[in-house]
């Protein structure tokens, strides 16, 4: 696929810096996209663990009806913070900011993104947002207790630190926008010579589509949040029904962003899947263009369905019917992807290493999540299931079972490239297996609970729901153990793992052409692209080169 990419590896990007500083300053002032990606990895993982611990505490509270470990008010702040952290601090920025940053320029054959300093700024903006979330916990008034949807008028009435917490979400959105602008420009301007749009790896396609959603959707949540803050501060009447405002308009504006946002979460994950399957099946992807265009299609159609979150809110019947119809349409491009992925395994030479196992878990869990999305997309059933645990199960399946699983898949796929070391494969296999079991134990009961009529955001529940809650809570402990194995393996190997070769899996996209870890400017010479992205006939050549 490329020539002249033999990195005459002397120094990796760890040893060379874009600035004169050394130590921690070399990181904090870096404009190197790889270091920035890693900084995101550390901080985002940190917040993920905070969110996960909140989840664990929530499960503990819900092990029995009535008050178990915390009070009702504390519980309400728990699920709000859990939601806010998971959405705004973990899953929306997650894959693009970590793996997008690290691998987008490399896969394009570029030295860096278009605006390296802006890239660093995005990280700082992210950190400011994160700090603001944390500060909001400790100010008088107490942590925000509105749910991550901040519905008016409750969010105007409550005395907790809503304004600061949602302002943090505003700041985080800004970071997201800057990243999106950077990536779109990079894809348009910095592709290596020879890399037309249809020679881009599919990960790039998905990041590109994601970046567009970030640009086009995020401003809407920005303005919505500002309006809520102004409403709280001055009583301007835009949303407050007491002053003539319309709470349903708030819901429209909120979901105009937040539905497309779920595709910000899933699209990069789908891109990673499209990378991993060809590598481990050692054959070209099935239906390259179908997958590429379905990313754009998801980005586009994803914009048309937001009101499926409002089927019971009293919007007009016409709107409900049309939005339901559109919701069903949005499932089609996801289906196209799933079918093409499975077809890519056909007549391959499949080596089920941990990254592929994660991907297989993803396909099953995401399909369950997506297909139950159809259940809630249907008008009749959503009237019953809206705001019940069925929805909670749906979105954990797509978010955690989908994007979360791929977060681990990407980590296990690119870890050797990022850290130049290898992890323990056997332990990794155990990690995936346990994850799959724990996951279903934790979340599947929630589907049944929901259908039985257990509403969400409930601190307390009727006795008949107890058994299923207990199973779910025990599942969360198993999940805890799994997470320790999964993260522990990575953490240990980052320091003590054996040295990884340049191309441990036999991948052919550009990142496997350079050293592990890559040098400061990724390649010693900008590669010229002459092949399709997943052309494995070059593999032998590559192996010779690296000897």
């Amino acid at each position: 696929m490329a020539n002249g990419t033999i990195a005459v590896s002397e120094k990796s990007f760890y040893e060379e810096s874009t600035n004169k500083h050394s130590g921690i300053l070399a990181w904090l002032l870096t404009t190197d996209h790889k270091r920035i990606g890693l900084m995101y990895l550390y901080t985002i993982s940190g917040f993920f663990i905070v969110g996960v611990i909140l989840g664990l505490l929530m499960r503990l509270e819900l092990i029995a009806p009535g008050e178990t470990i915390v009070s009702a008010q504390t519980y309400n702040t728990f699920f709000t913070l859990h939601g806010v952290i998971m959405i705004f601090l973990f899953i929306v920025p997650g894959l693009p900011a970590i793996f997008g940053n690290f691998f987008l320029p490399i896969q394009l054959g570029a030295k860096d993104v278009s605006f390296p300093r802006l890239n660093l700024l995005s990280w700082y903006v992210y950190m400011i947002g994160a700090v603001l979330v944390l500060v909001s916990l400790f100010l008088p008034g107490g942590p925000i207790d509105t749910g991550w949807t901040f519905y008016i008028p409750y969010s105007v009435r409550t005395g907790t630190n809503v304004s600061l917490a949602i302002f943090a979400a505003f700041v985080l959105g800004f970071s997201s926008i800057l990243t999106g602008i950077n990536f779109v420009t990079t894809v348009h301007r910095l592709r290596a010579p020879g890399m037309g749009f249809f020679r881009m790896p599919l990960f790039i396609w998905s990041i590109y589509s994601t970046a567009w959603i970030q640009i086009i959707a995020t401003p809407i949540i920005g303005i919505t949040i500002l309006l809520v803050i102004l409403e709280r501060a001055f009583g301007v009447g835009i949303f407050d029904p007491a002053l003539g405002g319309d709470p349903i308009l708030y819901q429209h504006l909120f979901w105009i962003y937040s539905h497309p946002a779920v595709y910000i979460m899933i699209l990069p994950a789908m891109g990673v899947v499209s990378e991993i399957i060809p590598t481990f099946a050692r054959r070209t992807i099935f239906g390259y263009k179908a997958i590429a265009f379905s990313s754009l299609a998801i980005a586009f159609v994803g914009y048309l369905v937001w009101a499926h979150h409002m089927f019971t809110s009293g919007i007009s019947d016409t709107a409900r019917i049309i939005f339901s119809l559109l919701t069903f349409i949005v499932a089609l491009p996801s289906g196209v992807k799933v079918f093409n992925w499975v077809a890519t395994m056909y007549k391959g030479s499949i080596d089920p290493k941990p990254p592929l196992l994660w991907v297989m878990a993803f396909i099953v869990l995401f399909s369950i999540g997506g297909l139950t999305g159809l259940v809630v997309g249907s008008l009749a059933t959503d009237i019953h299931l809206h705001d019940t645990y069925f929805v909670v199960a749906h979105f954990h399946y797509v978010m955690f079972g989908g994007t979360g699983t791929i977060f681990f898949a990407a980590l296990y796929y690119w870890f050797p490239k990022m850290f130049g070391r290898m992890y323990n494969i056997k332990l990794a296999n155990w990690g995936v297996g346990l994850f799959f079991v724990a996951f279903n134990m934790l979340y599947f009961p929630k589907f049944i609970l929901g259908y039985m009529g257990m509403p969400r955001r409930y601190f307390d529940y009727l006795p008949e729901f107890t058994d299923l809650h207990v199973i779910s809570t025990v599942g969360s402990w198993l999940m805890g153990i799994t997470m320790i194995i999964v993260f522990g393996n990575i953490f240990y190997s980052a320091f003590k793992g054996p040295k990884a070769p340049r191309n441990p899996w036999g991948g052919v996209t550009l990142e496997w052409h350079t050293a592990s870890p890559p040098p400061l400017e990724n390649f010693h010479e900008i590669p010229t692209v002459t092949r399709e992205p997943y052309d494995f006939s070059q593999l032998e050549e590559m192996n010779d080169e690296s000897k």
Binding site: I216, I220, S316
Partner: protein, 96 residues
């Protein structure tokens, strides 16, 4: 990427001043028309004039006319997004 590529066209001071005159003229038209009672059409006329004004600004002052085609595609995407948001929201609001 060289300067010449971005600095192509033949806009002169004169063009800009003409555009400015047109903008001022359109402003006075829209103010005058607003004084007359056209009922429901008034809003449509005002928006039409605003659209013409912004087309002038975008095309000439902001040079979109002379940029690479991809810029125009971008512009369409964002314009289209706004239209979608309006249409779908009003689907609810009008039928309530």
């Amino acid at each position: 990427m060289h300067q010449e590529e971005t600095n192509h066209h033949s806009t002169g001071y004169g063009t800009y001043i003409l555009v400015w005159l047109a903008l001022i003229a359109l402003t006075s038209i829209t103010v005058t028309v607003a004084g007359i009672d056209f009922g429901m059409v008034a809003l449509a006329i005002a928006m039409l004039i605003a659209a013409i004004k912004s087309a002038l600004v975008i095309n000439i002052f902001m040079h979109i006319k002379y940029e690479e085609p991809i810029f125009k595609v971008f512009l369409l995407v964002s314009g289209f997004t706004i239209v979608v948001i309006f249409v779908l929201t009003f689907l609810d609001v009008v039928n309530r």
